[in-house]
Amino acid sequence: MNTEQETGEKPNISIKNLDITYNYENDSEEVKAARDINLDIKNGEIVSLVGESGSGKSTIGSSILNLLPKDTLTRGKIQLDGKNLLELPENDIREIRGKDISKIFQDPMGRLNPLMTVEQHFIELLNEHTDFGKEKAIEKSIDALNDVGIPPNRFEDYPHEFSGGMRQRIMIALALVLNPRILIADEATTSLDVVVQSQILNLLRDVTEKYNTSILNITHNLGVVAEISDRVVVLYGGKVVEKGSAEEIFHKPKHPYTKGLINSVIGLDTEELEWVEGTPPDLVNPPSGCPFHPRCPQVMEKCKKQFPEQTGFNDSHKTWCHLYES
């Protein structure tokens, strides 16, 4: 799309040793939302962060754009073009938001300003990040809307005149119009009905391919993960417990949590109800050692004491579990 963009290999974003703590000024309520996260996203790749409530998946997504609440401590590195996003001054990170990295959210209904037309949203965004004239801005916007299936005569309509799925399409067009490197999709299809969800997933796959954008897909829905991801990162209690290609995670899961999670999905071919016993971890006082140990069916004594080292099965497939340590 964007002809100015260089055609060569884009550098990846890489997250290194990321720790995120909420309420860090208040010791007794410190929430250790993410601990020692490492993650690379390659060019044009779709990576899913999957986890349940309290896994830290949304927190990691927000930290990339520096959109966390004030009283939050972040340590580690999020690198894009040799810059550490966590250390950028507000003005510099703002230039990256919406241009190099953009984000779409769960509930599309409330994500557009009800007092602004679709056109105004686009013009505002393009004014902020480019020096296109009005004509070029409109042309770009209409192209982006066309890519997501919104007819051009709806350009001057207000958000309330669109359905939920159409609003998510508009959000996607807004997110992609500047040809970003990475699109963060935080539960972007969760509140949509299955048919529309499926439509949006197809759209995301096609459009990001066209725009050559990577996706960081954050979701709890394993069906969505399987439909769209190249690679999957499984989170539990703020820790990465397993990562690998979609094929590896779904067909050769290693970590007991990954296995439990996949087994508890209710699909059309499910014959028996299965689940993971126990309750999600308390992040103010996270369990010692491996955070999954209180719920793990194969728990051992050392699981309670220390977090396991990484075990690699091949270049892509890794897990953190004492069962596999040699």
């Binding site: 602004m116 037309t117 505002e124 965004l125 309330h160 997110a175």
Partner: protein, 339 residues
């Protein structure tokens, strides 16, 4: 395309709907004035008036006609801009009321503008700094201002700025000088229209104290409402989404949060306008302002029923018009309520 049509039809319906509203208000005014116990003629002339004079007065005021005829006369009169004649001065009511109404409107206009400006500014800044000392002070201001009686604040302002410091006049609307020729009846506007800067300055000087007292007094409620609405709006999902698109914070606060938070504020402004009129009455007494307050009190003492009725009618129409205006403004600002 469909956009403009929706707005036009919305404004049209609002205007059409205003007709029954005003009619109902007028009916209430009529009922209170006429059907209330007691004979207006008797009240005006005193208990010992001879029956022949009473009869004459009744005939003069149209009180001998059947009630429904009186009602029709009244409504048709108002529709044609005829508010009846004053019993005391025997001049058309509108001529008596107009200059006083304009005096009150001038006071209210400046007071109200100041109140909204101050309220929105303080409320917005307060909300931006939620939980800080500045926010606390803004909040305190909103409450404290309400706790002082308005006439006490007025007297204090007179003592300090008028008498102690001698900066500003403490009473009246224009002092001894001849006021500007009437075009709108608002001295500040009229003097400017005629290029009389000196007169404008005199008018403004007289306005500052009463308008500020009135404005500050009502700004408390606007501060609180703006703050609450801003805080709520700042937590909306579209604010976060705008931030994620890299829109500047200033734009997000003003274009997204403030504009959206102003919608409920404008609705409140319509209601508040009627209260401001009431507040203006108190301020007028304190500052000896030749407005409606002074007029309605003296007419009531003189038992000039037609005059009282005309004044109430004018107030009713004024409040109804403001509420229609507010609805239209909201219609223009908020695309969701058009059809």
């Amino acid at each position: 395309m469909a956009e403009g049509r929706g707005l036009a039809s919305y404004i049209l319906t609002r205007l059409i709907l205003a007709v029954p509203t005003v009619l109902i208000l007028l009916t209430i005014v009529f009922l209170i004035m006429r059907v209330a116990p007691g004979d207006p003629a008797q009240a005006m002339l005193g208990a010992k008036a001879p029956p022949s004079q009473l009869e004459l007065l009744r005939e003069h005021m149209g009180l001998n006609k059947p009630l429904y005829m009186q009602y029709i006369d009244y409504i048709f009169g108002v529709v044609q801009g005829d508010l009846g004649k004053s019993f005391q001065f025997n001049t058309p009511m509108w001529e008596l009321i107009k200059p006083r109404l304009m005096a009150t409107l001038e006071l209210v206009l400046y007071g109200f503008t100041l109140a909204v400006g101050l309220g929105v500014l303080l409320g917005k800044e307060s909300a931006k700094r939620e939980g800080s000392w500045g926010d606390f002070l803004g909040d305190l201001y909103g409450i404290a201002i309400y706790a002082f009686p308005i006439f006490w604040v007025g007297i204090m302002a007179q003592l300090i700025f008028g008498i102690e410091l001698g900066w500003l006049p403490t009473s009246g609307r224009f002092g001894a000088m001849a006021p500007p020729q009437t075009i709108t009846g608002l001295y500040t506007i009229d003097s400017l229209l005629q290029g009389q800067i000196d007169k404008f300055i005199v008018a403004i000087k007289h306005l500052i104290l009463p308008a500020t007292v009135l404005g500050v007094y009502i700004s408390g409620i606007f501060t609180r409402i703006t703050r609450t609405n801003m805080l709520q709006t700042l937590k909306e999902d579209y604010i976060e989404a705008a931030e994620a698109r890299g829109i500047k914070e200033k734009l997000v606060v003003n274009r997204y949060a403030l504009k959206n938070a102003l919608l409920p504020l404008i609705t409140i402004m319509g209601l508040q306008f009627a209260l401001t009129l009431a507040g203006a009455v108190l301020t007028e007494v304190t500052f000896n302002w030749p407005g409606m307050a002074d007029f309605i009190v003296s007419m009531a003492i003189e038992r000039d029923y037609p005059a009282v009725q005309a004044t109430v009618t004018v107030f009713a129409i004024l409040v109804a018009s403001v509420s229609v205006l507010i609805d239209i403004v909201i219609g223009v600002l908020d695309p969701r309520i058009r059809f």
